[in-house]
């Protein structure tokens, strides 16, 4: 968590703006304004995900752009019901994403299994497969809610001393399957 004196200051002059601050803060400024999410949906929430990427919500203005490959994505949005057959694929996509990476569980199904919780084939929540950062309620959630979820990821980015964390640190082994559900 950055202390206030570590924050990036932006000084504006005529026709020019200069950002001054610790490297961590500058890096986070870049990171949070270029959060690329994976173009990936498992069920009907994906329709709302597409809508969020469309012109009415226009998440491009925050730098949220979809990427069709996990190797260039920062955010994995679990959009829809997850079946056991899909679980290993989702885990693989997550593992292919480079650090730092974030996961949004979008809608009731990705949160807990939702309507299909009692079904034999539906995973009872995305957090049983991958660690989840943001849980969004709704069935499906509105594009506004998803935008807020992405903005919460921005806040998370802002507060993380990622550079200090990543520097000289041996990468931890990936969380053992399955990820444990967090307090929420």
């Amino acid at each position: 968590m950055s202390a206030p004196e570590d924050e990036v200051e932006i000084e504006r002059g005529p026709g020019v703006a200069v950002a001054v601050g610790p490297l961590d803060g500058l890096l986070n400024l870049c990171r949070k304004n270029s959060l690329w999410y994976l173009l990936f949906g498992t069920a009907c929430c994906a329709i709302e995900l597409m809508q969020t990427g469309g012109p009415r919500t226009d998440t491009d203005r925050f730098g949220f752009v979809f990427r069709p490959t996990p190797r260039q994505a920062d955010v994995l949005i679990l959009a829809g019901t997850i079946t056991y057959k899909m679980a290993s694929r989702i885990r693989r996509l997550y593992d292919q994403m480079p650090e730092p990476k974030y996961v949004i569980a979008m809608g009731s199904c990705a949160n807990t299994g939702g309507l299909f919780q009692a079904s034999y084939s539906v995973v009872n929540g995305g957090d049983l497969i991958v660690p989840v950062d943001i849980y969004l309620p709704g069935c499906p959630c509105r594009p506004e809610a998803l935008t807020e979820g992405l903005m919460l990821i921005q806040q998370k980015c802002e507060q993380e001393p990622w550079l200090a964390k990543a520097w000289g640190r041996t990468p931890e082994p990936a969380e053992p399957w399955p990820g444990r559900p967090r307090e929420c």
Partner: protein
Amino acid sequence: MKEIRDALAERLGTEIEWHEDLAGDPFAVVPPGKWLEACRAARDDERLSFDFLRNQTGTDVPADEVIEVVVHLFSYKHRHAFVMKTRVSRTDPVADSLVPVWPAANWYEREIYDLLGVRFTGHPDLRRLLLPEDWVGHPLRKDYARPESYQGIPTTRPGKEDR
């Protein structure tokens, strides 16, 4: 309906059970040994000409200790439809495959095998259709119990008291 009944009875004799009084579509129950023959007759007989397998499905009936395999047939020539069933044992469900009669039965039978566990003799490629290949059990059976976990993923959500 009477023509269908007469034609099928002529081909297969008295072994067919008729149900016309119940709510819903009338149907015939064919013994499993005559299943393939009955379906072939339904397709080839001029009066029937069921050239289209609309749907094929299965039902688990634990009360009678049977699994029903149901075909919904339609004839483009005569514009009529019909339902036929066969009943196989629940403990050892084996039925004749209808792929030689209607190739469309291929995936239907894979689905029935997947979800109810009926084994179709003569099927060219009897694998699971929807569920993963390492799945245990057949979940549309009435006595199917959900296992504790699948590949290490718990199948129930930890309750608040467990956290």
